[in-house]
């Protein structure tokens, strides 16, 4: 018995200057539309913990080849600091149509370069739900300035 799965990831990055960068990694040399937006092809891979029960402080790494457009993307966002990534994992049918999707949100924490890859590093955004549902939400009314990620220090 064999099960065949086809997974496409949609990478929607908003750098801290407000620019959007949208790529997908399955349909080679094609532009695909998802959520009303166009995603061009880029050969990236995402690894790391994508979800957990607590949902906070998950680390994600997105690897790109060291292409000019990717270097520009990282530099455009000042080294991927405080960018916002919406990473959608889409299950595809045999004909390439999207069957199911899951979207996770991350905050950029930096980038790394070497001679052949560019690594964008992320942590999960502050969207933890935990055991209680609906989860309590930090607002600027009850905590003041809101944190941008889950790195909290209680003093």
């Amino acid at each position: 018995m064999a099960t065949e799965i086809r997974i496409c990831q949609f990478f929607d990055l908003t750098t801290n200057n407000g620019r959007r960068h949208r790529y997908q990694n399955y349909f080679i040399a094609e532009t695909r539309t998802y959520g009303g937006q166009s995603f061009s092809f880029a050969p990236f891979q995402a690894d790391g913990a994508l979800a957990s029960l607590n949902g906070d402080n998950q680390q994600l790494r997105v690897l790109f080849p060291n292409l000019e457009v990717v270097v520009r993307l990282a530099e455009d966002g000042e080294g991927n600091r405080l960018s916002v990534l919406a990473l959608t994992t889409a299950w595809l049918t045999g004909s390439g149509q999207i069957a199911n999707t899951f979207t996770d949100y991350f905050i950029g924490t930096g980038a790394g370069f070497n001679e052949d890859t560019v690594e964008l590093r992320f942590r999960s955004s502050m969207d933890s739900v935990g055991a209680g549902f609906p989860g309590r939400t930090f607002t600027s009314d009850n905590v003041g300035i809101l944190p941008l990620n889950a790195e909290l220090y209680l003093r």
Binding site: A2, I28, E30
Partner: protein, 129 residues
């Protein structure tokens, strides 16, 4: 951009179609899950031989190998390389899905007679981003 491969008709030609980017995960119970990572094949292979060519033709091939930095720069192949194939068959191998060719190794040259050689080259067809 490098120049196209010289328009020569090979005396021997063999090719292998590309494979699709998939991975198979097998459980201890023997069941398998296959995951597809892309919608187009990659890694085409083409082997060409040019028998009993003159030194002038040999120089064209060697020049092309040097011009493409010996496998670093990809290039296209002219239709003459696929002489004898009809257009439908040629579409499967000449440039399917926009692939470009590169040398997988240096040309192998066998000297046959004064000024006459036989050359074999191995090419790989890969997709550009």
């Amino acid at each position: 951009m490098s120049r196209t491969f010289p328009s020569l008709k090979p005396s021997r030609r063999s090719f292998k179609l590309g494979t699709f980017p998939t991975r198979t995960y097998r459980s201890l119970a023997g069941t398998t899950v296959k995951r597809s990572f892309g919608n187009r094949p990659f890694g085409y292979e083409l082997r060409l031989s040019f028998a009993n060519i003159t030194d002038a033709v040999l120089t064209e091939i060697l020049d092309h190998y040097t011009d493409t930095s010996g496998g670093f720069t990809r290039f296209t192949l002219p239709s003459a390389i696929f002489a004898g194939m009809d257009a439908t068959s040629r579409a499967y191998v000449q440039s399917p899905g926009g692939i470009r060719w590169e040398y997988t190794g240096p040309p192998q040259v066998e000297s046959v007679y004064r000024g006459i050689s036989t050359v074999s080259i191995d090419l790989a067809g890969e997709m550009n981003v």
